[in-house]
């Protein structure tokens, strides 16, 4: 409740400076961070999925954040470069920061704040996303949990980040370790990424982050870390934490992969199933692939060529073509040729539809 009040208060205070007509381009569809879990004094990258908004690829966006503090205060009409996002492709933008530095706050102050409240905007503030909050996963309970290992998420996915925490205090021999390494493999060591103390690149790659007090963290995205194709079927990650030069070895551990649920296939259909030249032709496509947000049509009907486009989102793109007006003075047309392409130029359908003769 406090957060909600805070947000509304902020918006009320903001009103005079942003009263120029602003376009709200929609809600941020999805957000995540890498590393998945992080300390407030650790560098992190936040990712924002703007598919489903009216944002266009490679557009410039800036973060406008006012909690835990407001680093770009006073610059709403001309956001600073330090608040600028990076376009990652596929309608995803990112912002990299170290929270304690960006907000000029201590970890304790950030922890006691209302969280990370923000929206994304263009430089001059003429358009923006809806207000939202970047969730933070507090993993401090692990320090007292008495567990050797904990992963976020507990069942990793091939193409998404995972953070694996290790409590070396529970394993004998790690007391004097300078560094701890992640010796691991995918699918029961079918694709290994071993800690090889004599290969500097491998030492670097497998080194964990020292969180202090005998706690360590490994962050990785399986497909990138193990160098497998994005369509590789990951069943598990098997691993053990080892001290430098194998002076200590933790127990064998395993994380089973998340169930791979493929997105539902796209479906295209015309409406209705039969039509005459005095009818509207509906064009409907659901479960669209990411990045598909409009359909372009070309209808050849006798001497007439009708073109246009319908916009929508990944859930649905739908529109109706007005054959009624276009063909009202056209005689002897018994069929139409319809070509539908998506905004990436891919042909969705190229077909001929008979026109039913009317009684």
């Amino acid at each position: 409740m406090k957060k909600i009040i805070y947000t509304f208060l902020f918006l009320a205070l903001l009103t005079p400076s942003v009263s120029n007509a602003q376009e709200v381009i929609g809600a941020i569809k999805d957000m995540w961070s890498y590393p998945v879990v992080y300390s407030f004094d650790e560098e992190v990258t936040w990712y924002f999925d703007l598919a489903g908004t009216s944002a266009v690829e490679n557009e410039d966006f800036y973060i406008w954040i006012w909690s835990p503090s407001e680093p770009d205060a006073g610059n709403f009409n001309s956001s600073s470069d330090f608040a600028k996002l990076t376009y990652e492709g596929d309608m995803i933008w990112s912002f990299t920061l170290t929270p304690t530095e960006y907000f000029s706050r201590t970890p304790e102050e950030i922890r006691n704040s209302d969280g990370f409240w923000f929206f994304l905007k263009d430089k001059t503030g003429t358009k923006q996303t809806e207000v939202t909050q970047m969730k933070y996963t507090d993993f401090s309970a692990f320090y007292d949990a008495g567990e050797i290992m904990k992963a976020y998420p507990s069942r990793p996915s091939l193409n998404e980040g995972v953070s694996i925490l290790f409590n070396s205090n529970l394993v004998e021999g790690f007391e004097n370790a300078n560094n701890v390494y992640f010796h691991s493999g995918l699918n029961n060591w079918a694709v290994p990424m071993e800690y090889q103390a004599w290969v500097p690149e491998r030492v670097e790659k497998t080194r964990t982050t020292n969180l202090g007090n005998g706690f360590y963290k490994m962050d990785l995205i399986p497909s990138e870390y193990y160098g497998v194709e994005p369509d590789f079927v990951m069943e598990n990650i098997v691993f053990l934490f080892v001290a430098e030069d194998w002076t200590a070895v933790g127990p064998d551990l395993i994380l089973n992969a998340a169930e791979d649920i493929p997105p539902p296939p796209a479906e295209f259909r015309f409406f209705p199933l039969q039509l005459s030249k005095k009818d509207f032709l509906g064009v409907i496509r659901i479960n669209n692939e990411r990045g598909v947000n409009s359909l372009h049509y070309t209808v050849n009907a006798g001497p007439k060529v009708i073109t246009g486009e319908f916009t929508g989102n990944t859930t649905e793109i739908k529109g109706f073509i007005d054959l009624v007006t276009a063909l009202k003075d056209v005689e002897n047309v018994s069929e139409i040729h319809v070509v539908i392409e998506d905004n990436n130029g891919r042909v969705i359908t190229d077909t001929t539809i008979p026109l039913i003769p009317l009684d």
């Binding site: 209705p272 039969q274 039509l275 509207f280 109706f320 007005d322 009624v324 039913i356 009317l358």
Partner: protein, 173 residues
């Protein structure tokens, strides 16, 4: 003979008495025709396109809402009658696609609402003599106290419907 004369006189008296009887039911009122309830200007509440082929074969979706497309939110239709409540002209107001002829002359297939379930049909003509029938609108819901009605234009081939459009209308005041 005397008995027959009495019977005849009694019958004559009865005829005279009853022929002078006028029931006290107020002034004579012509029954309200369907023309009277349809006459006026009607605005669109809802326009639904129905895939009759899909509906018949239990395929979904078989209905789509077109109310906000192609200016149909501005659709209005006016049915005119003369001083005797006989149908004259009609006109669609609003820049909408011609799903049926947008102006002309009209009448009904029946002056009164039929007692059976067959719907009343509004026949649309291009000429005042009503010889050139252009379209037919089925009156699927008759205006009552809520002053709403529903018209349907049905596309058929070989007598079988394959698409229809349902106009839900409310009287403009």
């Amino acid at each position: 003979m005397k008995k027959m004369k009495f019977k005849f006189l009694s019958l004559l008296l009865a005829v005279l008495v009853f022929s002078c009887y006028t029931p006290d039911d107020g002034d004579h009122v012509e029954p309200i025709t369907t023309y009277e309830v349809i006459a006026g200007e009607w605005g669109l509440m809802n326009l639904t396109m129905v895939d009759e082929f899909a509906k018949r074969n239990n395929i979904k979706p078989n209905e789509e809402n077109l109310s906000t497309l192609f200016n149909f939110e501005d659709f209005r239709i006016r049915f005119d009658v003369d001083e005797n409540n006989r149908p004259t002209t009609y006109e669609v107001v609003g820049d909408v696609p011609p799903l049926f002829q947008l102006k002309g002359y009209w009448d009904l297939n029946s002056d009164f609402q039929p007692t059976n379930s067959s719907s009343i049909v509004i026949r649309l003509y291009s000429d005042a003599d009503k010889t050139q029938l252009k379209d037919e609108l089925h009156l699927t819901s008759v205006p009552r106290t809520n002053r709403q009605m529903e018209l349907q234009i049905i596309r058929t081939t070989d007598g079988t419907p394959f698409v229809s459009y349902k106009f839900k209308l409310i009287e403009e005041i």
